[in-house]
Amino acid sequence: MIPGIHAPGRAPAPPARTPTPRDGKVGGGLLDPAQLLTSLPDALRKLNPATLWRNPVMFIVEIGAAFTTVLAVTRPSFFAWAITAWLWLTVVFANLAEAVAEGRGKAQAATLRAAKRDTTARRLRDWRPGREPAAFDTIGATELAQGDIVVVAAGEIIPGDGDVVEGIASVDESAITGESAPVIRESGGDRSAVTGGTKVLSDRVIVKITQRPGESFIDRMIALVEGANRQKTPNEIALNILLAALTIIFLVATVTMQPLAIYAKSVNPGVPDSLALTGDGVSGIVLVSLLVCLIPTTIGALLSAIGIAGMDRLVQRNVLAVSGRAVEAAGDVGTLLLDKTGTITLGNRQASDFVPVAGVSTGELAEAAQLASLADETPEGRSIVVYAKQAYGLRERAPGELAHAEWIPFTAQTRMSGVDVDGRQVRKGAATSVMKWVRDHGGHPTADVGALVDGISASGGTPLVVGEITGGTARVLGVVHLKDVVKEGMRERFEHMRRMGIRTVMITGDNPLTARAIADEAGVDDFLAEATPEDKLALIRKEQEGGRLVAMTGDGTNDAPALAQADVGVAMNTGTSAAKEAGNMVDLDSNPTKLIEIVEIGKQLLITRGALTTFSIANDIAKYFAIIPAMFAAVYPGLDTLNVMRLHSPQSAILSAVVFNAVVIVALIPLALRGVRYRPSSADKLLSRNLYLYGLGGIVVPFAGIKLIDLIVQFLPGMS
């Protein structure tokens, strides 16, 4: 960070909010059964082949279903109609998964649209910085062009995205962030960006519009959550190719089986025709059933829902990703660049220890330090009062309590604060200032004071010296150790990151000594001290050279190049529009710690995809064992040995496999939307856990499932 931007005294970043769902928003991942119903019309609309062909697996199922419909009409039987119905249901279930996933985005978009009301803007004419706005035109917000200057007063809606060029105001941004506490927006610096649709609560600002008409932040957000221009990510494309290849293989395998089946039937003339196999070969309905069961319908049906739900999980946490590609990249991140202030540390130095000189008790020092800090309103001063109270039970006294005390507030010139009361003078402040004060009053600070001060500085802390004059003798009582306090739990999180193979690098404007101390305490892998924007950019380039993907957060305009260079650049919503433009994600909560959650969501998305693919492919084994004996056991009775599930009849076996194939899609929709359970751990552990769960599970579950369904469908007519 640039010295000066994160200087002490700067308002700390907004407190981290837990990612609990907010009012009026869709819950975080749980599937409401009612959603299935409301999404049904959309699911049926998606049966249109003109859109369905984008999903090759389900497109083949639809063609198969259409084909069996024709067969069922020409030669009706209960079996034919039952298979046909379930094949159509398979397609509908797949569409349902996608529609439900999209539906959540639509709900979000609706709340956003509410914010995009028709507003009017007061466009200034001939405004110059520093000049009082005089003439303006009142125009519709949609007529605003880039570069226009508008004035917005308390109670008015900001007509478009822009930067505050003059004034300061509190703004209600709940329309986009959901956070009801107003935020401060002011000209200059990194808190100048305002978003169209938000409301000015107090004061008046002059805003320069930076958006093009119709491309406001809210417009983009609506498009994003609706998935309007959702593009397949590279990994999704690759997976689709593999699924298409598997579909082709199984298509070839089923089609080429036909001449073989005809031959098998012809050399066994004594065997009567069955529903599955006649002299013309395997019946079309059974052939389609086999094909649909073998092609990877489970993952084919859920693939796009998984992707949409992944984006949605980010939105639940108030993060907007510009593209699915960015979410995917988040899973691959190898290096996390984290700003020290606000992300790793609480953002201001706090008292953490009282170190007295020889002959002074800690209690004495604590009492003096607290007394000297009562009039110090800086965060550091407050922290001394609080620490003395917490650690030594010293009651916080209001300045008014000591009636005849003379309070000396902290100033940048004296660099001390303190109090004169009942002939006793107490001072607390920068080491050099207090030591000088003691010396000026005839005291002689002992050598160990210097040693204490140096020791604290060396450990990365900030030493404040406490001195007093009583009865004419000036002396140093001891040193207060101020420390940048690392947020709770960060060490464990970085430990998790390391286990996931992610390197964490702390970025700070501090000197290397301080930086090292905090880096050690927080447990990050590396740090970049006295960092300039150029350093940051160079670091990102270096990591990328080595093949690592880099994620970072930023808010200032000077962060923009680094945000653009990073593979995952998360801009804070409080940041400048340049930063938001450069990054590929925006965190509406402006909570830099969220980067870690974003990485986890990216990983979870990829794991869900892999788990369901593995599950889907592993399912095939059981289906072979259900359908192959059903087709051919009549001709070659030995093949009934393969009927390990002891299914009731060929018809019930085939129907059970088809039903299972369809039902498993619905059963897995919640998993696809929620994502598989993910706990940060090493690749090895993740792999074995997921492999046993979804690979082994994928082999075993269909055996049980098909058998169970068979126990029911065997009672249907035409099943024996």
Binding site: A238, I241, M257, A264, G334, Q604, L606, I628, S682
Partner: protein
Amino acid sequence: MSPALAGVLFIGSLVVALALTHRPLGDHMYRVYSGTRHLAVEKVAYRLIGVRPETEQPWPVYARAVLAFSAVSILVLYAFQRLQDRLFLSLGLPAVPGHLAWNTAVSFVTNTNWQAYSGESTMGHLVQMAGLAVQNFVSAAVGMAVAVALVRGFARRRTGDLGNFWVDLVRGIVRILLPLAFLGALVLLAGGLVQNLSGGHEVAAIAGGTQQITGGPVASQEIIKELGTNGGGFYNVNSAHPFENATTWTNWVEVFALLVLPFALPRTFGRMVGDRRQGYAIAAVMAVLAITSVAVLTGLEVAHNGTVPQAVGAAMEGKEVRFGVPDSGAFAAATTLTSTGAVNSFHDSFTALGGGMTMVNMMLGEVAPGGVGSGLYGMLVLAVITVFVAGLMVGRTPEYLGKKIGPREIKLASLYFLTTPVLVLAGTALAMGSAEQRASMLNPGAHGLSEVLYAFTSAAANNGSAFAGLTANTPWYDTVLGLCMAFGRFLPIVFVLALAGSLARQSPVPASAGTLPTHRPLFVGMVTGVTVVLVALTFLPALALGPLAEGIH
């Protein structure tokens, strides 16, 4: 010694011998393909071909070189056979008919060595030596070159270059195949194989009458037939002929010779990518599949299910008495697991399930350990698919050896593993759909279907062994099987080289704790699983109507 114990010793000693040679031979091949020095004889060869050995080739150039070289090879071999009667050492045999010459030319150039003819009564010595045996060397070297190019794709970073095909080809022949073949031929000669240019002797048979016994340069051709996983026999009965395979121990040497290079190549791979454990993992997948297959196949043959074998006490039909059941089973498994296709017994006469197992071996995609080179690249493609499917489960976009498996990589890998099943199944369906082609079957019913399925599997997977029984020397079968062999060889090669090119361009992602480990037993198990589920199961419907229908009672 009981036959069972002999069988266990035979297989056990093979495993030990292969484990012992894995390292030195793999390291030798690593040095051959990574070295910068050229031998004098190689320099001469480069001058003759007209190439500068220092030039590097990007994948399209490498692929063009492979294809051009193979096309010329096919033409030369075709012409050789067609002009046989006008050449010396022809033993008075006539020119080979066009369709058979095409089939044979493609067969030997593609390292398949499917033989729709009987060697001793069709090919003269010159065609055998200067035509077929030469292809035994070069087609094997081509396979190794392509495998090495793919490995370079993994090992190299940010380059379009995959090496120089001509250098890889010449080095493979000069420094690997020729020395090993020379040594091996001497061993086989000592074992009783013949090596002469005799036109044949007429001898009086015990049962009366006379028999024509053809001699020839057998030992030299026999060893490269195995070493190069070619399989094309000098004699019609291949390694069952006493001149090709005299005793139990020459049988051992031949099985060893056909497994030794494919099992050493993973070591070469491990060395080239700079992580030997990766090589061990690939070798382990091959070993798990191979040992399982050998055990199942030999077990099925020893158990000899079936009416006749049970009646006579052993499944000896089609097997040589001097080898016995277990050694024949081991040979059959080894020859179908590698793309060799040499036989010392008749797979057609195996028990139904045993014969089915030889088909499954080929249907695995010839990867356990597969042909020289082709086995390694086939297995690496399967590893890429495995990494893609299961690798997502660690929460990263999949990468293998630091190279990302994106849309282009997965497209090429998918095309690769599509090729063989499509050729096998489409070919079988075409043949079974036509009464005329069905007439070529020797047996009716499920067994006849197995004969046809076997023929197309063998051709498309470039194995070359025959189930026997099928009359394959008809214009239709010669042409169609020839096409299957050509597509089954060269389409995958082009996909593999394109994959290598796209991998070589990437800069590798450094490994971290978040990277999918590809050298652990878990990964070995996954690749094995993917090979069985994704590749072999595709053929289950066809197998159900052939060997399974016949074998399960």
